[in-house]
Symmetry: D2
Subunit: 337 residues, 4 copies
């Protein structure tokens, strides 16, 4: 099969590196140009585990002629807005791993991202890239907004029980932990080993930019207003998100009612696993799987749903490749198993 050429913008970051690794192994595409800003001109192998010691990151510049049919944007918030319109104007397929195009509501974006939304008309074109719930639209699109890592863990955990009306949509509490790679590859004291090791810290309580993303997407899926409380925590692991979610049951539902909802929606989804026991991060590390487990506490009229994924794979680069597979008409799992 004729291969498509891909390019990665923001290739020196952790998600960018994971993308490069996945695309290099993908049988139906060819990894082409890889762009980086501060590391432009540096050897890729000085940043990532990369065999070709001569290859370097290219100068990031909107003027640069991009030689690729599919462009992945793994950029800090605010930077994809500057480049996506141009790439789309050149007829490229664009998959944006950042947050710039996930929220259609500009006011909401500006409130949580503390930035102006400057993407213009192309924002309306962006399709939310959660394949388990949105594959038809993704297949028909050429501009995909890849979900956030926490958002993926929360939405996939909650959508079935909300869609089936099993929980109260304003009762949701999501308590999440994330590995440090989620903060990106950057020089900052707060992410240094000596600060993170043997430590735990919650952050951005009630203020995290994934809150409106989760509420909006779950609202659309379940056709009702959804309100969540979300607390992210930084813990000393490199990769992984572990979300423990609490919700009040809207009736006297049992474990089998809840399991049925998960089976109904995920039985055929290749990257959702429903293990019979409490999930662990290490089961999903380096994979595109999300493991989801639920248990009803009848005396509390609650359900606890636990979901775990690798923030750099199903939470970023893997899901981006899954989206590319759909957009390009490849098998959904190509290059990901």
């Amino acid at each position: 099969m004729k291969q498509m050429r891909t390019a990665v913008f923001g290739a020196s970051g952790y998600a960018g590196g994971e993308l490069m690794r996945l695309l290099a192994r993908h049988p139906l595409v060819q990894l082409g140009q890889v762009f980086a800003k501060s590391f432009a001109g540096s050897a890729i192998s000085s940043v990532h585990a990369w065999d070709d010691e001569d290859a370097v990151f290219k100068e990031f510049s909107t003027a640069h002629a991009v030689d690729a049919e599919v462009c992945f944007l793994a950029l800090p918030h605010g930077e994809a807005m500057e480049i996506a319109p141009m790439l789309l104007g050149q007829g490229k397929i664009v998959i944006d791993l950042g947050g710039d195009h996930r929220l259609k509501d500009r006011a909401l974006f500006e409130k949580y991202y503390k930035k102006q939304q400057t993407s213009g008309a192309v924002l309306d074109e962006a399709v939310y890239g959660l394949p388990e719930w949105n594959s038809t639209a993704i297949r028909a699109s050429r501009f995909v907004a890849n979900p956030g890592c926490y958002a993926t863990s929360a939405i996939l955990a909650l959508a079935p029980v909300l869609a089936e009306g099993l929980i109260e949509p304003d009762s949701i509490i999501i308590d999440s932990m994330s590995g440090v790679s989620g903060a990106g590859r950057k020089a900052a004291i707060e992410y240094s080993f000596s600060e993170v090791n043997e430590n735990v810290k919650a952050y951005r309580i009630g203020d995290h930019q994934h809150i409106p993303e989760i509420e909006t997407v779950l609202g659309e899926i379940s056709e009702q207003e959804v309100k969540i409380t979300f607390t992210p925590h930084l813990i000393p692991i490199t990769r992984g998100i572990y979300s423990t979610t609490y919700a009040t049951l809207s009736g006297a539902f049992s474990n089998s009612d809840v399991n049925e909802a998960f089976q109904k929606h995920y039985a055929n989804k290749p990257f959702v696993r429903l293990p019979g026991s409490i999930p662990e991060v290490r089961r999903v590390t380096n994979t595109n799987f999300i493991d989801i487990y639920s248990t009803v506490l009848p005396e509390r009229n609650q359900v606890i749903i636990i979901s775990t994924l690798d923030n750099l794979v199903k939470g970023a680069a893997g899901q981006a490749v899954q989206n590319m597979n759909l957009v390009c008409g490849f098998p959904e799992t190509e290059g990901l198993l």
Copy 2:
């Protein structure tokens, strides 16, 4: 001042080792005999960082004549019941760091501990050793049931807002993470480095033995029925508990209402700190402090309370020494700052 002599039972464990370290430095007591079961006869320095290379753990035996006025029991669940009655019968002060004497309700004990409660009459004599809420009774007692590590983090976080009627007593969700030393010093694949590192796992959901302890103590403090949901998680740190607690406000209370409750109850408590920013485990590591922080989410009508402590100090050995200080009439902070 004349020193009291202390003995430690179960000295080869992590809590036992921490007790030895604290008692050895305590200016008003003298660390005497240290007993261990499987490590009896072994050099203490082969187990703990201990300077005297010649000192060994003594044979653990109920027949052994204990030469101490204060006995600390840092034993696996079920073992303190076998020895506490005898020690109390000999007139010793007993501080039990395990769970055997925390629940007066035998049925509740047997449901959660899966063991028969065999302590007999002495159970009624045990005083729950949470100095911030129970110091009068502790001072008058000679038998203290030291609280659980998770329970300490949860009860101290919730008692002020429950006592002041600020939250709904059936709305509480406690999401906790614990370091691995909380599982004790034992040979088990599940606690081996290769399994725990780069991993997270919830466990004993809805079934943990600290649930009835938290519900009972909070119920007594606030004179109402309290119901909680509690999920513990094992994370890759050695020491530390981090609890993020969620509750529905019982009215339109503000951050300052909540802060007032904490100030009212804890302003004079030497080991409770109320930092102005989100707590971190490393701030309390190796100390007897608990750091508590709260924030109201008005749009959610909720309060989030975060508490963190060192499970081996304020969650075990430090709190035990704090209790000894009260029982013996020493200053509460002696040997702990």
Copy 3:
């Protein structure tokens, strides 16, 4: 191509699990029976990240009819001796990941392994499975003794400079660190998270069983007596070996002389990389690569050679698959890139 069937003995260990993962993905073989001792009957997914939740480990028994052409033995020292002769007698190809068949000298084996060597005649048939130096013999064999993890890191680092006569064969000092998975998957206090985290400890100084393996193999390769000093250290990582090796130059050799030796022997070896900068463990994690770097200290008349590999891949399961590829006539890198 017609697939060969493989079986794994000792599949519940870390090397066994890595073998299962590699064999399941290998395009030219089929993973068949997986045997375990203490975990016989347990779900594979309760031990490893394994998708098929119904699959269980089979009862380990010499009487069991093994349905496979290639048998991998990932067993504790001493157990392969008991089963290899039978499997070879049945005409199977046997690849032994343990230490039972690495040393032909029975006295040396018994000195370092503290066990009797009971393999009998088949011991002479075993070929040392270091493909970079022994591929002709491996291709012709049906019984491969897979090298030790430390030994692989040390021999590959030293063989070129010894073979080319650049260093004094009695001047070698190998200082190595290993991740905890190297100790196997077992319940032991000394490998528990709370003991290993934030710790370093040397062990088996001058007494490790890889010493005679390294000396013998390097002696054969360079046709001279080789004597080494070797100190292994346990450090808090899960996977990885990092060896820093020191040797006295036998003449006024420069960096380019040393590099030439490495280029000469490894230019065409697919799993040996010779990076231009100091290696890091994370570059080789989860790969079958060994990274080797050297630097001459002229004022000290020494060369320092640093080598790093993943102890479970190039140090165990990956090298075992590499050996199977050679024995079976497959491309050397099949299933390993």
Copy 4:
């Protein structure tokens, strides 16, 4: 006893924080002003675990009137040179934890530190602050150059066997690992959790600034030229140095000859321990002890000496306090046990 007042320059770093902690608890001194550069004006509690939430770091300025008898300089290399002469001119006692005043040989300093030595006349006044070998000079001085962390581990391990003539002075190889806090508290990708975790990397091979310090001090102690090979490695722990040192015996010396040398020089040194088994980092963490262990390999004619210390305590702040104790005429162990 009348207390002395102390000041800390560079108080926002890890060594500075440890100094503050030690000085605050020291019974004979009073922690006064704490100065920081980039964190001037910030709350101390935003950086270190520090109870007084109102206290802030003071503006670092040479013009500032320092109100202290003893000044500790915990500054990046090159900065102590700028301030020490002024403080000494004001009659202060100065203890410099950095490297500016350890090497009297200006050329050597400039070669390894890549900086000009601008201290002027006061350089000659600086006394090398290794109390186990230099206590007489330290007691008589008012300007102490505190040793480097690696240097302390290496010099204390080697000085007795060199002083007693047991090893060849040009045969020494020191292979060391360090925790990440040794790199200081700074924003740098290379020290971020995601880079350091599950990783090992050697650095500055043959070029580390502690090489001339170790060679010079050991040369002075043993009155001969000493030449070393030194390789530092960064490993994923926060605190701790672990040095494994190799040397050729200068005669047929036994373990008891070597032990005798250590006993002779260290029997009365309060912070040197000579454990009977292989040392571990966690035995010295948070203490001012160094643990030293040696073993002779007769068949190799070598001795291996292992030493371990906490780089922030015996390797920095603890040793600085030990030096202050000597200069001020306090008991050597005051505030350090």
